[in-house]
């Protein structure tokens, strides 16, 4: 188990989830999100999917609270639940705090809505933590996506730490020269944001120019296709899971229509 806060990025490790084909995992993420929205009124189903996600995350060696942004996600889920509890007025009153009454329907809606939110995020985290971006791009290219579009995903991920560090440095430079982010007076606040964004944008344009030179200098886009040093294929388990995922779509639709 990793004890310190970890960034939301791919980590190379052995395990069942890591060994799956990226498309198997991606399709799984889509089917789960689809199911959570279509089977929206069954709390038990939400609890079951959420618990499954937590167990998979635990088996894979991650703790939700130790992933960057994990705590914010939990707080947001609680906020969604509170909103539902306070504003949904249908059903019977089960609890009352002064003028605030909690209805039974509000409680089930609160649990379902917050679990839906947190479960989708949890499975997305699982996908990001266990899927190598290059393998995902390769999988998309194998499915027919032009590699030039696929690589935009990788270059975007590559730029994230650079942008993050530049944001900090620009902010530091602005603050140490007396720049301020006090909300009032509002024109000064907007001015500070404009100054910051201008430097960020110019800096990013320069980064992109440098990247273009680097990529063009290595024949990127010269041919319609390219080879990949990495090779990925669907295992028997992948094929079985993908079959289940595809079959579950009509079942979910049938459930929705039947209810």
């Amino acid at each position: 188990m990793i004890n310190q806060i970890i960034s939301l990025q791919y980590y190379q490790r052995r395990g069942f989830i890591n060994s799956l084909h990226p498309i198997t995992k991606f399709l799984g993420l889509i089917v789960i999100s689809f199911a959570l929205f279509f089977i929206s009124d069954t709390v038990l189903f939400h609890i079951f999917i959420f618990a499954t996600g937590v167990i998979i995350l635990k088996i894979s060696g991650y703790s939700f609270f130790r992933i960057q942004g994990g705590r914010l996600v939990v707080l947001t889920a609680i906020f969604i639940a509170v909103i539902q509890l306070v504003f949904v007025r249908d059903g019977m009153t089960i609890l009352s705090f002064g003028s605030i009454q909690i209805k039974n329907y509000a409680l089930s809606q609160a649990i379902a809505a917050s679990l839906r939110f947190i479960t989708i995020i949890l499975f997305s985290y699982l996908f990001v933590l266990s899927t190598e971006p290059t393998s995902f791009v390769l999988a998309l290219v194998q499915m027919g996506l032009p590699y030039r579009f696929g690589f935009s995903i990788i270059t975007a991920i590559r730029m994230v730490p650079i942008i993050k560090s530049e944001f900090t440095r620009i902010y530091f430079a602005q603050i140490t020269r007396g720049g301020t982010y006090k909300f009032l007076p509002i024109n000064k606040f907007i001015g500070s944001i404009t100054q910051f964004l201008k430097v960020v944008i110019i800096s990013m344009v320069k980064r992109v120019n440098s990247l273009v030179i680097s990529m063009e200098g290595r024949s990127f886009g010269l041919y319609k296709t390219r080879t990949f040093i990495k090779e990925i294929s669907y295992s028997a388990i992948d094929q079985l899971i993908i079959t289940c995922e595809i079959l579950s779509i009509p079942i979910i639709l049938f459930w929705r229509l039947w209810r």
């Binding site: 530091f172 430097v199 440098s210 024949s219």
Partner: protein
């Protein structure tokens, strides 16, 4: 091997020719160093030799560039990329994948090499640089030196005949620089590689380069090495240091990130009038120290005082008025639409009043920031932007200057100018300065004290007169001035 004839280039929407009827001949296996003032066109020439001026950079071009008898200005840049490889100034920004192996394979994959051949080329390139251990590393885990190695390995995997490096040492500490040059020297002999290096510090190539040329106003001139390395600079160390009350006083000072200690200082005092040269390898904690003294990052300490007050992360006016920090990258520190406004930015924010226009005009002239007062800061050359950063910090007269590798992108004359300016400022304002630098020369001629950080702690803290002996004693030979 390379023949450039009557080459002219003008950037789109800019008037003067950046390359002005330029001629150059480079023989196979040569190690050519191109030096010259910042903004004189060196990087533009590098882009031209790598085939980018025709296709990627908008502008007007005339003349010819012939590489191995191919006129590249009429070819596509992809064809020339098989002959020439350009390593840009900051390798971190030119990596487009996430791991070292993928980065090295990238060009070969684009050229549709079969995976088995790519595997062989990647291994061969890394072993040529003794960097096989890096193959499975994530790009964002690499140090500055490792990044530069990977950038060169990326080139070697593609087997170019000409390797162009644009300021390869700007982000490297002397140890990494030394290793890089040894590697390049061996590769040149083994692989008959032609190496062209653009560099502001020609003296570091004293025994390696076969030829050096100087660029002035878009043209190249042959120049003797000795003339370039002239080091007859008088000592201008601070003469009066007031040791009664320290500006900075630290005791049992620790800086940590994510529970990892990045710097530990048992005791440190810096006095008014002192100019400290802060040295150390990449990642030794130099920048962290400067940031923490401004209260920009957290720390733990028994005693921590700057100007007699504890350092806090609260951004109060006292802290901001007394500490002037200049960061490495000038582009990150320009917030206004004109040079005048940029110089006025901090005084206006901190003291609520504009500086006198005559005073600003004087600064613009002194720092050679262009002819027009209304020039946009981003229209200036890299070196000018760096000097503008310096002017905009000196304009509000802080008592403690914290300068983080401000000499990157400055030619020797401007490095000397900045050092002179810092010396004068410290003397007249009774201020102190901490200068983070990798190159002992010429900073040692102006500093009063050297602090060397190693393995996240202070290894040497001595008067600059003893710095060379102490560096020898600590086996840090790469950090010694060339003439030592």
């Amino acid at each position: 091997m390379i023949k450039v004839e009557d080459l002219c280039f003008k950037y789109q929407h800019e008037n003067p020719l950046i390359l002005d009827h330029l001629h150059l001949d480079v023989r196979e296996g040569e190690w050519l160093v191109i030096t010259g003032e910042s903004g004189c066109g060196k990087s533009t020439l590098a882009l031209g030799l790598a085939g980018f001026l025709m296709h990627t950079i908008p502008g007007e071009i005339s003349g010819s560039i012939t590489i191995n008898e191919n006129e590249i200005l009429s070819d596509s840049s992809d064809d020339i990329s098989e002959e020439v490889f350009l390593v840009q100034q900051n390798p971190e920004t030119q990596f487009c994948t996430l791991t070292v192996k993928e980065e090295l394979a990238f060009g070969l994959e684009n050229r549709r090499f079969p995976p088995e051949e790519i595997e062989k080329s990647v291994s061969r390139a890394l072993s040529a640089l003794n960097a096989e251990d890096l193959i499975d590393k994530q790009i964002n885990e690499l140090s500055g030196g490792q990044q530069q190695k990977v950038a060169i390995a990326t080139a070697l995997a593609l087997e170019p005949k000409i390797l162009i490096l644009d300021e390869p040492t700007s982000n490297l500490d002397p140890t990494a620089t030394h290793t890089l040059f040894q590697t390049l020297s061996e590769l040149r002999k083994q692989e008959k590689l032609t190496v062209i290096v653009i560099e502001h510090k020609p003296w570091i190539f004293k025994d390696l380069a076969t030829r050096q040329v100087v660029m002035k106003n878009g043209r190249l001139f042959e120049e003797e090495q000795e003339k370039l390395i002239s080091s007859s600079i008088n000592n201008k160390k601070p003469s009066h240091i007031d040791k009664t009350s320290p500006v900075v006083e630290l005791n049992n000072y620790r800086i940590s990130f994510s529970k990892t200690q990045v710097l530990k200082i048992n005791e440190l005092k810096i006095f008014p009038g002192e100019i400290v040269s802060l040295m150390g390898s990449n990642g030794s904690g130099k920048t962290s120290l400067l940031l923490s003294l401004c209260g920009l990052i957290g720390f733990e300490a028994k005693v921590n005082q700057v100007f007699g007050k504890p350092i806090t992360q609260k951004k109060d006016k006292f802290v901001l008025k007394n500490r002037g920090i200049v960061f490495q990258n000038p582009d990150h520190q320009l917030f206004c639409v004109s040079v005048v406004e940029e110089i006025n930015f901090a005084p206006k924010n901190l003291y609520g009043k504009d500086l006198d226009h005559i005073y600003i005009g004087g600064l613009i002239e002194k720092f050679e920031l262009g002819e027009s007062l209304d020039s946009h800061p981003f229209q200036l050359s890299y070196g000018q932007k760096g000097r503008l950063n310096m002017a905009s910090v000196l304009s509000f007269k802080p008592g403690l200057l914290l300068l983080d590798e401000i000499f990157i992108g400055q030619d020797l004359n401007h490095v000397l100018f900045l050092l002179e300016t810092i010396g004068e400022y410290v003397k007249h304002e009774s201020a102190s300065a901490i200068i983070v630098n990798h190159s002992a020369w010429p900073v040692f001629n102006y500093a009063s004290r050297m602090i060397f950080l190693d393995k996240q702690q202070v290894l040497i803290d001595c008067p600059v007169e003893n710095a060379c002996e102490e560096l020898v004693r600590a086996n840090k030979f790469e950090y010694l001035p060339v003439e030592y």
